[in-house]
Amino acid sequence: MAVEPDPFEPPQWQGAALSMRMASARVRAAARRSVAVADLRLDEEHRLTERIRFDVTARLRLLVETTARDLLRQVERLTDDGGVAATLLPHDRLVERLRQAGCLTDPDLIDELVAQVRLTLLAEALPVENVAGDAPSLLVRLTEAPDRIVAAAARAVLIAEGRGRITGQPDEAVALPAELQQRLVWIVAAALRQQDDAALDTALAQAVERVLAAQDASERPLAAALRLAAAIDARASELPELLVESLLNRQPGLFIALLVHATGIDADLMREIVLEPEGDRLWLVLRALDLDRATVARIGLSLCEADGRRDVEGFADALDGIVAVSAEEARRATATLRLPRSFRAAMERLEGLARR
């Protein structure tokens, strides 16, 4: 991480200011040293790739700037003052201010964005295969399903998927779960204010409430896919084919949603399980659904081909062992995954797995 110059007015090259310059140079040097050490200490295997770092940063910037713009619009309406923007921190300095204050490393926010980016990259990298012959692909077929609920839900997934891609267009925001969205909007509002101004603060607080109220819960990531999976309500005999075809059609979101619906495991956790390169938890989840060898092999092969961190030879070696696990055993082994989120988090904290 580069150390940015101090955003505030730098001291002059005179008198007492010189010692201030020396002091801040020392602080920067120390920061640079510790960042270098921290960077080199990172485990190569778990380190984010440049692409993920870049995409996460871009999403974060987009989120902050969209939120700030929404807030400003509301503040202008509330104060009936077009000039109010001048008294707030300019948008281009907002991200930097939040970053320096450590507000952009909210672990839950980073987890969410990294997972979103990894899922997008997975979708791009999955090997495509047209299993339907001359028929349209899975989602398109579903939009034409006789069941109108399924058809509408499938169309919503196609639409949401298009919106989910980062477009760089200012009117396209990144979807976040409600609780993260709420934290982010408040912190952006706090970063916007530059000095005490009771009237402005009141307006900002009201603007936050309005922005949050306008949030549509259905906009959260994977929501459309989850609704589709619920509408399909796949029978055990239909599930294997749907799972395999969703991956072959580059729809990992639908793949996750189908598993969520079938297992009752929380969507965020299921996404983490599907994205982790070792795959151990996923193989057990698949066995808990009693999926056969060929289905597990197809799913494993697709994911291995899409993610360079995965080891396809290791998976092939392990496959017999995985399939030998009975569905009952697998269900027992994965039972904790179905526990409430807070309970799981508490257990992880006790095991010392939780962050810091």
Binding site: E124, P127, V128, E129, N130, A132, D134, A135, P136, S137, L139, V140, T143, E144, A154, R155, L158, I159, E161, G162, R163, R165, T167, Q169, D171, E172, N249, R293, A294, A297, R298, G300, L301, E305, V312, E313, A316, D317, L319
Partner: protein, 454 residues
């Protein structure tokens, strides 16, 4: 030179392996690869990347399809390999059989939005729309959400009927820059698209870009510089030369040194990107060279030196210069015998340039194992050099077109910028000669360059 019999891109070669990866039966191309890789008749399949896929398919118990690069004597081959386990055996089908794709200018970059496109779209293999750029509907007056899942032709009306899906897809090369109308608003657009391949090299869908056409009539002009456009002025090309050549040379030099890892180790991916950048840069430098030349030869008073030259000697030299490229492409060049001579009147350097262009084209369009024949002949007052290949030939209606600016013998082919033949003909005429083509589609083409004999 022994050169592998090239089965062509569409051919699928098959083989069957036993439980120990030994070849039970194999079509000649696979057998040849196996032998080239050092394998004997009773050995395990010696082509490592293919053997790896076969083993993986056996262990997983499912079909595995992958694209692999296999080193062949003349270079690398891109192959689509599918291994299917069946009762203890592995059935292999291998398609592709083409040299690694050379860098080519494409209208649709792989990702991150076609530059400058008004909106992007994607379809599945059945040409149903699966993606439209967010906001495209609002900006261009159609209901994008309702359009998803509908056939491509529900959104675009093509000037010529698209017919069946397969015919349309087989013809996607011509979709580049293809004119169409946005059906809901009847606005003219230009489309460009690329095919997304599945693991067996089959078609899994299209991803494309839409460019709105502002000027009426632009639909007919691929490029602003196409015939009928304003002539290039000297100031323009001089400016182009100055503005582009230096930065391009720097880009190429830097990209080459990144690709060569001159400044230290980098990930293989990045080295490959750098190589792509260098290739693209060289292509652009070539284009600048040609545009500068174009400006000179398009002057009405452009004339060339008329000195006595030996056209047979010029042809032999041109063939010699292209020897390495021909070897790489597995093509044999038959040049005029060393004792043959053909006196003519013209400019030595320019004649050499024309013949390099003709022979280079012939090599490019020849199939692997093919032959390019260069013959010299005196015909009354004319001295003739002909360059014949056995490529796919040029349709009658295209024979005039290829001598025009920015036209290509085969627009889908890599390399070249569509200026070579135009310049060659202008040069031939400036020497009082002529450049013509004779071709039977499917059998090859013969280009004849004539100059006045002494």
């Amino acid at each position: 030179m022994t050169s592998m019999d090239s089965p062509g891109e569409s051919m699928v070669a098959r083989a069957i392996l036993d439980a120990g990866d030994h070849i039970l039966s194999a079509d000649p191309p696979i057998e040849l690869l196996h032998m080239r890789a050092g394998g004997g008749a009773t050995d395990r399949l010696a082509v490592a990347p293919i053997a790896r896929i076969a083993r993986l398919a056996r262990r997983l118990g499912i079909a595995v399809s992958r694209k692999v690069v296999v080193a062949d004597e003349e270079g690398d081959l891109d192959l689509w390999v599918q291994a299917r386990p069946e009762t203890g055996q592995i059935r292999l089908s291998v398609s592709g059989w083409r040299d690694r794709a050379a860098w080519r200018p494409i209208a649709t970059p792989a990702d991150h939005a076609a530059m400058g496109a008004d909106f992007r779209w994607e379809t599945d293999a059945a040409l149903r729309l699966t993606f439209l750029s967010p906001g495209a509907g609002q900006r261009h007056g159609f209901d994008a959400d309702a359009m998803l899942g509908r056939p491509l032709h529900a959104l675009f009306a093509f000037e010529t009927p698209t017919g069946s899906t397969s015919r349309f897809l087989a013809d996607t090369t011509t979709l580049d820059g293809r004119a169409a109308r946005l059906r809901p608003t009847d606005v003219p657009v230009r489309l460009s698209a690329a095919i997304r391949h599945d693991g067996m090299g089959g078609i899994a869908g299209l991803f494309g870009a839409t460019f709105l056409i502002d000027e009426p009539g632009e639909a007919d002009d691929e490029f602003a510089l196409a015939p009928g456009g304003p002539p290039l002025t000297e100031a323009f090309t001089a400016g182009l030369d100055k503005a582009l050549r230096t930065p391009l040379a720097r880009i190429v030099a830097n990209a080459d040194s990144i690709a060569a890892r001159a400044d230290g180790p980098i990930a293989a991916d990045y080295a490959e990107y750098a190589q792509d950048i260098a290739h693209a840069g060289r292509h652009l430098i070539g284009l600048v060279d040609n545009l500068v030349e174009l400006q000179a030869i398009e002057q009405p008073d452009f004339r060339l030196a008329a000195t006595p030259i030996d056209l047979a000697d010029v042809a032999r030299r041109a063939a010699g210069l292209l020897g390495v490229r021909a070897d790489t492409a597995g093509v044999t060049i038959r040049r005029p015998a060393a004792d043959e001579g053909l006196p003519a009147i013209g400019d030595f350097g320019r004649s050499l340039q024309i013949l390099i262009n003709l022979i280079g084209n012939a090599v490019r369009y020849s199939p692997r194992g093919g032959e390019v024949v260069i013959a010299v002949e005196r015909d009354g007052p004319w001295a003739l050099v002909s360059v014949a290949d056995h490529g796919k030939g040029i349709a009658d209606e295209d024979q005039a077109r290829i001598f025009e600016k920015f036209e290509r013998v085969d627009p889908s082919e890599a390399g070249g910028n569509g200026l070579g033949l135009y310049i060659a003909r202008r040069l031939a005429r400036a020497m009082g000669g002529e450049l013509s083509v004779d071709s039977v589609p499917g059998e090859g083409a013969t280009f004849t360059f004539r100059l006045r004999a002494q």
